[in-house]
Amino acid sequence: MSNLVIVEHDNNEVAAATLHAVTAAQQIGGDIDLLIAGENCAAVAEAAAGIAGVNKVKVADNPAFGHHLAENLASLIVEQASDYTHILASATTYGKNIMPRAAALLDVAQISDIVEVKSDDTFVRPIYAGNALATVQSADAIKVITVRTIKFEAAAAEGGSASVEQIGGGADAGLSSWVSQALSDNDQVDLTSAKIVVSGGRGMQSGDNFSMLHSVADKLGAAVGASRAAVDSGFVPNELQVGQTGKVIAPDLYIAVGISGAIQHLAGMKESKVIVAINNDSEAPIFQVADYGLVADLFEAVPELDAAL
């Protein structure tokens, strides 16, 4: 068996999510190579070579890959594919955008969002917003897989000594081009890797009121998250959304404030170790999954919590 893990990066750093995909590859077994497609991404290659358990790092440094456009990346993956039995990426928007395109070009199925490796051809994946788990067996010669990061530990970022190989190939398909981005504030704790997350919902009533949550989060070293209702209402930007169609996270502590606990929200946080709910409606479904529930007006409880920390 031989695995190729697609490295997610910003031309400077390896994304933490990739380390979890490496662990999934380790569980499948066999050699693990990494593929880095980027522009001026030598720093990424150097860091990736240090990831424990990696055999070889293949680097395609080419302006066509600078902005990770799906058409260009998928073609490169296809060029590399014949050397591998498994091609993996993390199930982030990066992986989700590229991998199905590569799979289709290879005429193989993609196994999305795996949460468990049963064997080299059998995997478990959630369906119906995590309300069911399907065990699926793949008959394809090359298995294209995206990995749900919270279900696999991160591989050690250091200690490895992989060789680095520059590969040619890849070209700009000329189908799309990058224009701009509006990214989140780098000073904030990363939602996907935070140990503690404080999330607000529609009950927060406004974006300004989220400052209460930021204050609590700062004291706890926590990240701030949100329900879809809070994002749709314009209280906070989209990258804070937790849920079936947002981020799936599993911090040690998740504090849900003014969030009702809809199925789609639970899909993104119910694997958290400890869940706290603060809601003034004792019937809110969030209390059914909360380890500690506080039935209270958030506008009183949150400042009190802030003061108590």
Binding site: I98, Q110, A132, L133, V136
Partner: protein, 249 residues
Amino acid sequence: MKILVCVKRVLDPQVKARVKADGSGVDLANAKMTMNPFCENALEEALRMREAGIVEEIIVASVGGGKTEETLRHGLAMGADRAIQVVTEDSLEPLAIAKVLKQVAEQEGVGLVICGKQAIDDDSNQTTQMLSALLGWSQATFASEIKIEGEQATVTREVDAGLETIQVKMPAVMSADLRLNEPRYVKLPDVMKAKRKPMDKIELDSLGLDTANRLTTLNVEEPEGRAAGVIVNSVGELVEKLRNEAKVI
């Protein structure tokens, strides 16, 4: 320009999925079904493009058996001009669905395809990207804003780190995120009108495609539930429990 909107019939998002006792799948018998919410966003965007004079004709297509026609009628009631049902009782995987939709897109000579970002039942998030690959067209997934400007489109995408804007060449395949728009409600006269709109049915077998499944579902089970916890009476008690019992702060 003609536009193809791909829609899927799924379990209503308000209904909790129940796993069948024999582990063969999710019980959909008598369950309330609707158009996948993301597909409604895709169709709404197409309707707005037609209203803006960018699109002349909107075709909704769905691959499925049983009551798929109901979902397509809903699409017609929302305002699509005509519908195509590719009829099969098999549960096709995204790759096969993409092969079928490719054929439909080519036969109809459409200049743009919009799908939903993900179907809320299988949550695969694949069909759009696969269809784009098979057509060899440009790809713009997770769109929260689409602007068509002649031979180009500018699309804002919801990505993990925030928002990204790309420009794609037409023809293109795009997928709709929920914040792309607010789908319109269907009024009764629209439902009546939809009954008279054209609905083509094509048997899957007649297309001569290899749509065999590559995956075998060995088992479907319910995940372990979470036991409900305790209700605390004060913020003080909460903080005490988090410190000393759960030891998470």
